[in-house]
Amino acid sequence: MQSNSFMNADAVESLVDEMAGKLWSLMNERGIQAPLLVGIRTGGVWLAEMLHQELGLEEPLGTLDISFYRDDFTRIGMNPEVHPSDLPIPVDDRHIVLIDDVLHTGRTMRAALNEIFDYGRPASVILACLVERRGRELPIQPDVVALHKEMKPGEHITLTGPEPLGLVIGTDSNRESRNGESGAET
């Protein structure tokens, strides 16, 4: 039953700066202009807002709540805290940057990709995440990562926020419903 602070707000913000820099280079390299940034609830949305500002993008920001696309619905039932997804501009032929806090199993990304394609057919999708850890269960890899973290089995890493941002590391026993955290790390 432990949850320890791993990084404070300043450290997280410098990771976000690093994400912004890497994302900027990748977009330049691929000739991507006017992308739609899409944050995955909840931590991904906080990060998307920061990146949106740092990159000075004019297009509005999108948010995804992947509750209706989860592959564990039949095991865990409906998430009692669903929020509407919102992609404010058409995704058809648009480059999309999908943003999440922690990439672990890849299942959240699978759900997010499925949801995006129900809005239309994007030109491309880039995956940017703050933290990447081992344990992928699906063939999904990030394009932009600020931190690769080695974790012990049973440990999890979570972005807390939005004010102040922080990264905490905890163990399996205290994963259930903590407020102010970004949710399941998957």
Partner: protein, 328 residues
């Protein structure tokens, strides 16, 4: 024998059937409204479907005619990717002498995951919920004069969408309270969600004796009752359920309780007008009000799909989870 409130919740307080608003707390009602808000956007996308209930079978058991409710339940099921069966029972098994339980067992043998039940007899959905196999959820789509909980939730959803929150609102429900399962459910939901006042405006002959115990203010004068309200909910005059001379005439009813622009002027200047449909134009309300700028009657129909998606998916989720726990 389990009664409604305990029958519809599982051991951890999750919704496993949806039979009545009675016994559901504000958190649960708010959770349904929030989930519906998540589904509302699905109707505006290229693909108006989510994969949540893929492989599930929802059977609409309608023992009584309905167009709006049945159609929105059907669309809700389909937008959740469930397979939807529409059974018009009056025209099939029961007319051949098969009992209700036999019909149920047969459908369960086809691995139906949910029954959506509309019946003229109060308590019919409860009866089916008590006898349904484990893992099968039941939704009450209207039983006799008792309850129509999904209609009440979609009305609450409409009010929240247009008014923001429930606190401080004055809501008037006008018309045939006596025969209305919708009114009972609405009153329970409005009080649970904490509006500041629920008014009931009706002729004495169309008001049940127990009305006062429901926590409402009763008016027999339309002009007085409608003053300063934020929401006006008009009820359909259930002509087919009227027996004997409860009303002098439709014309007389309209003169006394019909909603006209002139009458509506006494309500708050931003008041919205609702009606569960189908409208009897010129009986409950003037066409100019039904089609006017304050009417949200057609929005109610659209919201009905999102609300029914929320209820179906929450229940299927709970029933699945329960199945897992039993296996575990």
């Amino acid at each position: 024998m389990s009664r409604g409130p305990s029958l519809q919740l599982n051991g951890t307080g999750r919704l496993r059937h949806f039979l009545t608003i009675d016994g559901l707390n504000r958190e649960l009602l708010t959770e349904i409204l929030d989930t519906a808000e998540g589904f509302a956007g699905v109707s505006e996308r290229t693909v108006k479907k989510v994969p949540l209930c893929r492989g599930k079978i929802v059977a609409n058991l309608f023992f009584e005619n309905s167009t709006r409710t049945r159609t929105t339940f059907e669309l809700a099921g389909k937008r959740l990717s469930a397979d939807v069966l529409n059974l018009n029972i009056t025209a099939s098994s029961t007319s051949k002498g098969e009992t209700l339980l036999d019909t149920l067992r047969n459908l369960e043998a086809m691995h139906v995951d949910m029954f959506v039940v509309r019946h003229a007899v109060s308590g019919a959905a409860h009866f089916i919920a008590r006898h349904a196999a484990p893992g099968v959820g039941v939704i009450n789509a209207g039983d006799g004069r008792h309850a129509h909980p999904t209609q009440a939730i979609l009305d609450m959803f409409t009010i929240r969408r247009h008014k923001g929150e429930f606190t401080g609102l004055r809501v008037a429900i006008v018309g045939d309270i006596l025969h209305s399962r919708v009114a009972r459910s609405q009153i329970l939901a409005l009080n649970t969600l904490g509006v500041s006042e629920v008014r009931v405006i009706a002729p004495r002959t169309l008001l049940p004796v127990e009305a006062r115990s429901l926590g409402v203010h009763i008016y027999h004068d339309m002009d007085e009752g409608i003053r300063d309200v934020d929401v006006v909910i008009m009820l359909r005059l259930q002509k087919e359920r009227m027996q004997g001379a409860m009303l002098p005439s439709e014309h007389e009813y309209y003169r006394l309780f019909g909603l006209t622009e002139a009458r509506l002027a006494a309500a708050d200047s931003e008041a919205i007008v609702m009606h569960p449909g189908p409208i009897n134009r010129g009986v409950e309300m003037a066409s100019e009000v039904a089609d006017g700028s304050r009417s949200v009657i057609l929005q109610q129909v659209s919201y009905g799909i999102a609300v029914r998606m929320a209820v179906i998916s929450i229940i299927i989720g709970t029933q699945n989870q329960q199945g897992q726990d039993n296996k575990g």
